[in-house]
Amino acid sequence: MAAGVLSGVRQVLRGPRLVSAVFSCHGQTLSSASAAVKSAPDTGENVRWDLMKPYLFGSRLDIDIIDLEQTAEHLQRALNFTAHVAYRSGIILFVSRRRQFSQLIETTARECGEYAHTRYWKGGLLTNAPIQYSPGVRLPDLIVFFSTLNNVFQQHVGIRDAAKMNIPTVGIVDSNCNPSLIAYPVPGNDDTPVAMEMYCRLFKMTINRAKDKRRGLTF
């Protein structure tokens, strides 16, 4: 199924590893075996964000299936933008509040020479920067959210703050996330390690290639 969807998309996205990006498990249903089966009356919440509807095929066995062709387009746009920012020596900040991927994202950031914030987000980090850091600090030019939710399944504060400070954002939006304030949303799964590793690999590759091009080396 994955192969059929991906025909006509870039070389790098083809492969069996993308299969896990197709299925989206919702945040609070991750950890237990009854994860896939959750009933709205029990939780009392609507777990799918309506704005995500255009990006989904629908749901099967209570798991939302994302349309990968749209994902591929959005991902290409996002990576292109990231490449341009990196080419112009912009500061890129990776943000995620998923504790299982915190180590991976920090390592990715270190390897591409960019910055990461996978810890508790203090209130005025972007909006009150001269006080929180030192006067004369330079804010990030792009913020990449590997998961737009925080640990209590609410939207990450960084999205709203980045919008306030006119900082463009790229975000992997799952079906229970709000894609409105994000400049380059990428509908996709943010739960599985395989998907996360793929995204990290892609962003690292893009940034490294952009920087190499800047330095005049061919890739």
């Binding site: 180590q103 950031a109 910055y115 990461a116 980090l125 929180q132 030192s134 330079r138």
Partner: protein, 401 residues
Amino acid sequence: MFLVWCILLLNNQAKNSYEAILHDISGQASKEIQCDQNFCLFATPTRFYFMDRPPFRRANKLGLPVRQIYVSSSLWKKNLAAAGPQKFTQEFIDKQVEEFEVGKRHLANMMEEDPETFTQEDIDRSIAYLFPSGLFEKRARPFMKHPEEIFPKQTAIQWDAKGRPFHFLFYTGKQSYYSLLHDVYEKILAIERHQDKMRNKGLFTSDTKQILLTGSRWLLKEEIEENLVENISDQDYMRLIQLMEKLLSMPYCSLEKEFILKFRKQLEVQSSKYEIPALQYDPQGVAFSVADGRRKTAKASITLRDSGSGNITINGRNYLHYFPVLQNRVQLMFPLLFVGMMGRFDIEGSVEGSGHSAQAGALRLAISRALLSFVSEGEVEKMRQAGLLTADPRIRERKKP
């Protein structure tokens, strides 16, 4: 210049704030004059006013009269509290280090010792000799120490010329702390991979060399803050300790032994602080030890001789004559009673000063100290816990109206 170093011990901060205040006062006066001068020159070029307000009416653009509000000097005062802790530049610190080294050599020359092998203890000794001070507070006495120990460690500017921060976790706010957590977790993962490799080879054993943790404690939150040059909260500290404990719980944790020991502080064994008087021998071969003790203003000196029969002589007289009061004799006998060596020793003591009770207390301390050389390690700890080795710090309180 090194004398400045020695004498300018105290409150660098107090000194600087005093200077700042002086500067401010002079600054104020000049500002007032300047203000008036400029104002006057602008308004009436022909007249010159000095410290007086000119008697004319100003008008704004609309032609309406405007009352000039005179700015007070409190607005010009530098808000010293808001400036935060004093920041030292790296060049300043380097200059101080250079001056310290030069001063150290001068001091060695003055004390007629070799400048090459002049250690910090020698410096302390020389300063105590050259500047004797009777101040009780040890930290108020003159000292000469390396600038690293005096100036608190500070964070330098965190980013380069283009504005890009150096550290990849800069935007978290607590870069050193989170980077430390990242490293610890990295080590945990590395050890897990090592374990898996050993399991694959079939060499996995649970009884590997464990790190010795007895006699040491985890560094306190303040000590870690000092190391990281950052403030961390209690929860952060607990999280760090949890991660370290997790690291320690793994079978192959001995791979990261030095890393873990960096976060442990050795506890000094309390009883080893006491210096045990050396056991000396008579020409007859009888062992004896000499010790001193003090209480209030009384000073006592005791010679404890082995193979005796429990005779106690103080200032040449028998203790029964010297201390008619039972309480004082009990004080003398208590150390021997405690270790169970009542009839074994002959005690010869001399005491002077204060009253009979204080003299008895001084003698008791001296006997306990002399006993240390006849007694085992465990007994020393027991004596310490019984309070026999602690000098009583109580002195007479001064008279108040």
